[in-house]
């Protein structure tokens, strides 16, 4: 750790991981409700469980991004963070807001209260005071990191990261605007999370990935930056109008079907470019970095993002296809692998890189971490296939044959059982990941014969941490 203020990231990443655990646990609970629909129906209705699952996801990812920013900006800008106090104050506001939201949802407190009650608008249901807290925290954050960058060295990585973070905060403001017209309501609603994940979050993803590649592969900054600019251009070009694929059936004019179909088909390009970028950097790289776990997560992130966001997104983005598949389990399959690949794996990659440095524990073995990668990635991939098959069957039975929704759900039971099983693997993987970063203090696994031979004969080879 070169700069003391990078330590801030430790607190953010800790909070993010705690929320990650809540998120996947809730996922397991609602996954079981699909299998056994009356489970906890009095105590924790499905819609509340899902709220916690989706809200916790978004909040922990953002907390993780902020942690990543606090970690990498000092190194890139070559100076300490503007104010450590503000950074911790900001985290406190976020934690209080998050806990407030969780308690309000779970116990349905202050029903109907404008300031304190949940707002009821799906996904944007946070109580008004929580939303206001998020904005205050975001302003503190942006002030803090922007001041740091302005006073320090400006690199393509920090510029793109800041652009993404500013976009994230500004687009959240649409959460406050709730027009009476339902079509407009839905349109603005998509502006928040979907101009995030198809737009500005891709900038955050590309810049963090670029930072990791720079550190892990030792490729020249110039080369990394060129890739970064191309990826960002492709992401914004396709992503902004690409969100038009959400406007097909909400009452907006019919031309959105063509704008959405054409532009969103191109959204696969930036994700392909990020995957190509990550692998080309590793091939070209001259550095044999000991943190193999961070490299595994980085490559896994780029690959699974390409499949989850790119391929699985394209699967149902053309309006002729979406007419049949809209809102079926195909959507759930895409949503799970896209979020996991693009943003969960990204956060876990930067954590795998940063936490050993922040805790002063290197070199130590990250074999457990790598095992957790395969558990989580394997579980999530299996879940994606299961849900894709479920969605295909559902589309046919419900949309083509015209069977009733609940009759079809009965027939999908076997898929939901398998999905629950893959969910268990993901939760175990998450627990293992946290254990792997928090607990072991020294090497867990010694080098095997192949690794030992490489260490003996190849002078450039560095032992895995």
């Amino acid at each position: 750790m070169k700069y003391q203020s990078q330590k801030i990231a430790l607190a953010y990443m800790g909070v993010a991981l705690a929320l990650f655990l809540i998120q996947v646990t809730m996922g397991l609970v609602i996954g079981w409700i699909y299998v056994s629909p009356n489970f906890l129906s009095e105590l924790l209705p499905f819609n509340i469980g899902r709220m916690l699952h989706t809200n916790a996801l978004v909040v922990w990812l953002i907390t993780g991004f902020m942690g990543a920013a606090y970690f990498l900006i000092p190194e890139e800008a070559e100076r300490e963070i503007h104010s450590e106090k503000l950074a911790y104050l900001q985290l406190l506001i976020l934690v209080v807001g998050t806990l407030g939201a969780v308690i309000t949802y779970t116990f349905n407190l202050f029903e109907g209260n404008i300031l304190l009650g949940k707002e009821g608008r799906e996904f944007l249901e946070q109580p008004l005071w929580v939303k206001a807290g998020i904005v205050v925290a975001a302003l503190i954050f942006l002030f803090n990191v922007t001041m740091t960058v302005l006073k320090g060295r400006k690199t393509a990585i920090t510029n793109i990261l800041l652009l993404g973070l500013w976009g994230l905060a500004l687009l959240f403001l649409f959460a406050f605007y709730n027009p009476g017209n339902l079509a407009l309501d839905k349109q603005y609603w998509w502006y928040v999370v979907h101009l995030w994940v198809e737009g500005v979050w891709e900038l955050i993803m590309a810049s963090i990935l670029a930072y990791l590649m720079l550190k892990l592969t030792g490729v020249d900054r110039e080369v990394v930056e060129k890739w970064l600019y191309v990826i960002v251009a492709a992401a914004l070009f396709s992503g902004i109008l690409g969100t038009g694929h959400h406007y097909y059936w909400i009452g907006t004019p019919g031309y959105w079907q063509w704008i959405g179909s054409i532009f969103s088909s191109l959204e696969i390009i930036p994700f392909f470019a990020m995957m190509a970028f990550a692998f080309v950097m590793v091939w070209k790289g001259r550095r044999d970095h000991p943190n193999k776990a961070a490299l595994l997560w980085s490559l896994g992130c780029a690959t699974l993002a390409f499949f989850g966001a790119g391929v699985w997104g394209f699967l149902h983005t053309l309006h002729g296809v979406n007419y049949y598949t809209h809102g079926t389990q195909i959507t759930a399959a895409h949503g799970h692998l896209a979020f996991f690949g693009a943003y969960v794996a990204l956060n876990l990659a930067i954590m795998s890189y940063a936490l050993p440095i922040l805790r002063g524990r290197d070199p130590y073995n990250q074999v457990l971490n790598m095992a957790s990668f395969w558990l989580m990635a394997g579980g999530m991939t299996f879940m994606t296939f299961t849900l894709t098959f479920a969605g295909t069957v559902q589309t046919h039975l419900q949309r083509v044959m015209g069977e009733y929704y609940m009759d079809v759900q009965d027939q999908l039971w076997v898929f939901y059982v398998m999905r629950f099983g893959s969910g268990v693997a993901v939760v175990l993987g998450a627990l293992l990941f946290i254990y792997a970063l928090a607990m072991p203090r020294r090497e867990v696994v010694g080098p095997g014969p192949i690794e030992q031979r490489r260490l003996d004969t190849d002078a450039d080879h560095v032992a895995a941490e």
Binding site: M1, K2, K215, G218, D220, K226, Y229, V230, A233, A234, F237, S238, P253, G254, Y255, W258, I259, S261, I262, F263, S265, L266, I269, R286, R287, H289, P290, N291, P356, I357, D362, P363, D460, V462, E465
Partner: protein, 195 residues
Amino acid sequence: MSDTELQPPAPAAYEPPSVLDELPGDLMMWVLIVSELLVFGAGLAAFLGVRITDPLGFAEAQDALHRTAAGINTVVLVTSGFFAALAVRMAEHGRKAATRGWLAAASALGIVFLVIKVMEYAEKASHGIGVETNSFFTFYYLLTGFHAAHVVAGIVILGLVSIRCTPRTVEVGAAFWHMVDLVWVLLFPVIYLLR
């Protein structure tokens, strides 16, 4: 372990310049141009695809278009592209005044194109034809509308490069302008003429 503790990397092996380094102008402009061509290409492909489902309706709707005006616009835009090419040549010879003159001429023809286009749109509107009239006109307005927006953007870019007038910037601006040109040359026959 921080990076400073690592072994210094081996000296870089000689790498031949990649094709990307030899592109005229700026790499980012080529990324944009390729993206634009993909979008318009996909739009035209979709247009042709939907046309198969309703050839008579499309032919009938096409008769409402003003082919002569679009033909004139083709000549206007291609000539404008020629002027932009002359501007690049002047810029390479370091003749700034001439460069700016040809850029202005190219932009002026761009404005002529837009005026004729607006007259076409106005005429359609007076007949009550809009973007939702039928799928032919949905594509007509989307494709020519997006293209017209690029003509506007192109005029702005030509203006910017004539302020910062170097051979490289003029080349970048002209590349964009030729793309706008090329897209129109593709749109015109497919939308206006194809029977």
